[in-house]
Symmetry: C2
Subunit: 393 residues, 2 copies
């Protein structure tokens, strides 16, 4: 006689990837008190918020200090000004959405984790390697998971050609975390066709869309027909340096209907019941980031980080190390040299260069033998890391 | 062939209580363009944030504007300064907690909704009437729900004496939303004994603890033994006027262990996987609210609202209308006069006094014939509402 727990948690891997990295770095630092470890591991930004965003935070704070302009509970799905700003952002990519198809939240991680709830017991198709949240949140709710392999052979861009023709929940992320690979419009068209044909639903993570250069889709809705088969989840974390601010959104197109049920209505119900809106101050900051002035500043943040990417790319090219990403993505995904596996390469770099990256195997079995570097460090740290890598590789 | 949805959503009531209230008010306003409706309905605060909180928001914003003091991803369970501030808050009530037993979040509603996930298929015991989130989030995950009736006879404070002796997840809220009733320490002791004896888990919502006057427990952990059987969820929404700011926390004591599993570890896993921390700026604001200066200001907010409560109470006393709450709680829970049911009394007050309250039946079957008024309006609006109520009751 006692309470039953959710036993599916036993099947989730013990330690979250980044906790294990943190543990190894702490152990190293304790053993080497004079060390100077540079982290190109976790994908966290380092540049401060931009002037337009800072001004909006101050001004919204002032509003909250006066009775006349104070705001209590926010509308559950976001203030109109925030939803409108997101709609305008999509319009720049030729995508027409209605504000009531936008659901504002505190993070893409929250939405990717919580979205599982509105579905029943389906087969879930997850690329390998993958952002761990997508795998873990399905394991923790006992879903049946199938993998589609992203490999060097398919340029880490798996396609549906050989998949069984049945309904699935399909996770996609482009530009990809962790591999930095980006789908072309032609490739996304094939995925949308597959999803429509099999009555599958795509959950499309576009959190890195701001890093795209060239003619790649920023949104899956740039593909005709995607609105009837795809949910899109995006964030300002990487676009505007909001990792410590927290603002994201989920797009649930009104055309996305399964057996007569509009998924937007289910998500609306989920959010109205288990979420109470995003801070007014933060929504004002987000709208400022999405304004024309704000976006111009965001583009500067992105160029800064992409210059870091090119500094790191040069070393890999020089050393003849195979990699993908680093163009249209802040991540470089490299093949560990000299037959190292991911964690032993992690230890090698930590011990010999005091540079921290992310072991590819932490993102799935197909990531074994690969390694992720991020461009989100400062210029100085990135240049120093590059020169150390040049020495030890 | 198509994706399966979470069919439990079909069992959730169609329209969330406050949406229905909003709908009726809009309809009334459209029919009466010159109306002056006063809302004492939804429990949303109206006073601005206090000076200490405003200063902290500005100062944290300034930190985010400079490279040297910018903060990216927050620690998943909260910054040490925020967790420490919460620990100190509990110390004032004689409750000793460790910072790693505190999990910071964006809202009590989120935590109350998400907590369901860490449990398996248990019997869930919910008081009737109840805060709708607790009922809905269990319906939406297909849990077996039993009710314990809160009635005029037990002063809306149901006790476990006649419950079957078996393990359950037990929801409690004191001071209660919606009834304003407050458990004494003796009563909470009985609940803790029951939970320990039956190996049940109590989920204790203390969001209104700041409104307590007199010798009632602010935290369930004021009762010996509660740490081995109770989770506590609290929020700054009502304490510091944070409904539009978003800051709350869940306490998972290390002693809370079920079949060898520490619930804190499961919640840690849930939050690390599906949540990415609270905005740095907001955590600074929360720590400021919880500081001695901040708490002094919060007590002024609380007294302001409690003065409103006494203005409304006077009318009910004068008219001989039975009610509970209004002392140690911002809510007044009254018996609808003249045999009105809850929604017809809602319509009566809307049409005759242009005063909006919340129909008790929206909180459960036992709420039928009752009605909730809140003290969160401005003084002017509350006085005007009181004089209109005096006229029509």
């Amino acid at each position: 006689m006692s309470i039953k727990l959710n036993d599916n948690y036993n099947n989730a891997k013990k330690s979250y990837l980044f906790s294990e990295i943190g543990r190894r770095v702490r152990t190293y630092r304790e053993a080497h008190p004079d060390s100077n470890v540079i982290s190109l591991g976790i994908g966290d930004v380092t540049l401060p918020l931009t002037p337009t965003v800072i001004a909006a935070l101050h001004s919204a704070t002032d509003e909250m200090s006066k009775k006349e302009t104070f705001r209590g509970y926010a509308p559950e799905y976001g203030y109109d000004f925030a939803r409108d700003a997101i709609v305008s952002h999509y319009a720049e990519y030729g995508v027409t959405l209605s504000p009531d198809e936008i659901f504002v939240s505190d993070g893409a991680k929250s939405d990717l984790g919580n979205i599982v709830e509105i579905f029943g017991d389906n087969e879930v198709l997850i690329p390998d390697p993958v952002y761990p949240v997508n795998y873990d949140s399905n394991v923790m709710s006992g879903r049946r998971i199938s993998f589609i392999n992203a490999t060097k052979e398919n340029n880490f861009l798996p396609m549906p050609d050989e998949l069984p023709r049945r309904s699935m929940i399909i996770y996609m992320c482009s530009p990809n975390n962790p591999t930095g690979a980006v789908y072309s419009k032609e490739q996304l068209k094939k995925w949308v066709s597959f999803a429509r044909e099999t009555e599958s639903v795509i959950i499309f993570d576009s959190a890195y869309e701001a890093y795209i250069s060239g003619n790649y889709p920023h949104s899956i809705y740039e593909v005709d027909g995607a609105k009837s088969c795809a949910i899109e989840i995006c964030s300002l974390s990487k676009t505007a340096g909001f990792t410590g601010v927290r603002f994201a959104w989920t797009v649930m197109p009104s055309e996305l209907i399964i057996n007569g049920v509009q998924l937007a209505q289910m998500w609306a119900r989920r959010q109205a019941t288990k979420f109470n809106g995003v801070s007014y101050i933060i929504q004002r900051a987000a709208a400022a980031a999405l304004s024309p002035e704000g976006m111009a500043e965001c583009r500067e943040l992105v160029s800064y980080y992409m210059k870091n990417a090119s500094i790191l790319s040069s070393v890999l090219k020089e050393k003849g190390i195979w990699y993908t990403g680093g163009v249209s993505s802040p991540y470089l995904w490299l093949k560990c040299p000299d037959g190292y596996d991911s964690w032993s390469f992690f230890d090698y770099l930590l011990n010999n260069a005091e540079v921290v990256g992310t072991p590819g195997s932490g993102f799935g079995a197909q990531g074994e033998g690969y390694f992720r570097l991020t461009s989100f460090g400062s210029r100085e740290a990135t240049e120093e890391a590059a020169s150390r890598l040049r020495r030890v590789l």
